[in-house]
């Protein structure tokens, strides 16, 4: 399964990219699995996606929680809590 990742705001700056297309290993199925996979890259990824970091997740532009299951071609975004208005 292939997904399109997006990162915003402070998270985008911390990992140094606004997104990438990623082919997932078979055992990676949920949004939380992807967060753990990115965290395992180490360095800035481990720091920015550390467990204590409050991050929101959107799948196909809808807010979801870490248990959300992914589908092929989906757009998965990670970002800090929002501060508009």
């Amino acid at each position: 399964m292939q997904i399109h990742l997006k990162f915003f705001a402070s998270l985008r700056e911390a990992v140094g990219t606004s997104g990438e297309t990623l082919t997932l290993p078979a055992e990676i199925r949920s949004a939380g699995d992807v967060r753990a996979l990115l965290h395992s890259r180490g360095g800035v990824w481990a720091e920015a996606l550390a467990e204590g970091k409050s991050l929101r997740i959107a799948c196909n532009q809808q807010m979801v929680d870490a248990s959300a299951m992914l589908s092929d071609g989906c757009e998965l975004a990670f970002f800090p809590p929002v501060t508009g208005g």
């Binding site: 915003f8 975004a77 970002f79 208005g85």
Partner: protein
């Protein structure tokens, strides 16, 4: 109903005139206008940059307005949110709601801005004398949204 995300400024008089044009059943227009302050968390703010998630932002605002329409007897709602570089005194966000009587419009307008603050994917980055910093989400905004929890 309209939601707009734009870098350009907007004119309140023009927007409100359009919102209620040819709609004589409107008896109340409630607006919330958010503006850039020059002070946040004790630091002087010289400029800020508004980032958003194109596509999701518009969907999220549409969804919030639709929830307000389902919940209150309002005629129409307009949300305009600016992105890009902004300075103190600049207009950031407009929420305007029309209804027959003021009560529904006041509630719906407050609901929309409370939800926007915690659900719509916008992020502020401020320039201060100590350097640039991303604005942290406020607990008070979560509390403001929580008061609208549906009554079971």
């Amino acid at each position: 109903m309209a939601v707009r995300v734009q870098t350009a400024d907007f004119d309140l008089t023009t927007e409100l005139a359009q919102l209620r044009a040819n709609t004589p059943k409107v008896g109340a227009v409630v607006t919330f206008l958010g503006t850039v302050r020059d002070l946040n968390e004790g630091e002087h703010v010289a400029e800020m940059e508004l980032e958003h998630y194109p596509g999701m932002t518009e969907k999220s605002l549409d969804d919030i307005v639709n929830q307000a329409k389902a919940r209150w007897d309002i005629f129409d709602a307009l949300v305009i949110h600016r992105v890009g570089p902004l300075k103190p005194l600049d207009q950031i966000v407009l929420v305007a709601v029309t209804s027959a009587h003021r009560g529904e419009a006041f509630d719906a307008c407050e609901f929309i801005i409370d939800y926007l603050k915690t659900e719509a994917p916008f992020w502020k980055k401020e320039q201060t004398p100590a350097g640039a910093r991303w604005v942290d989400a406020r607990v008070s905004d979560d509390e403001a949204m929580a008061k609208w929890a549906p009554v079971s």
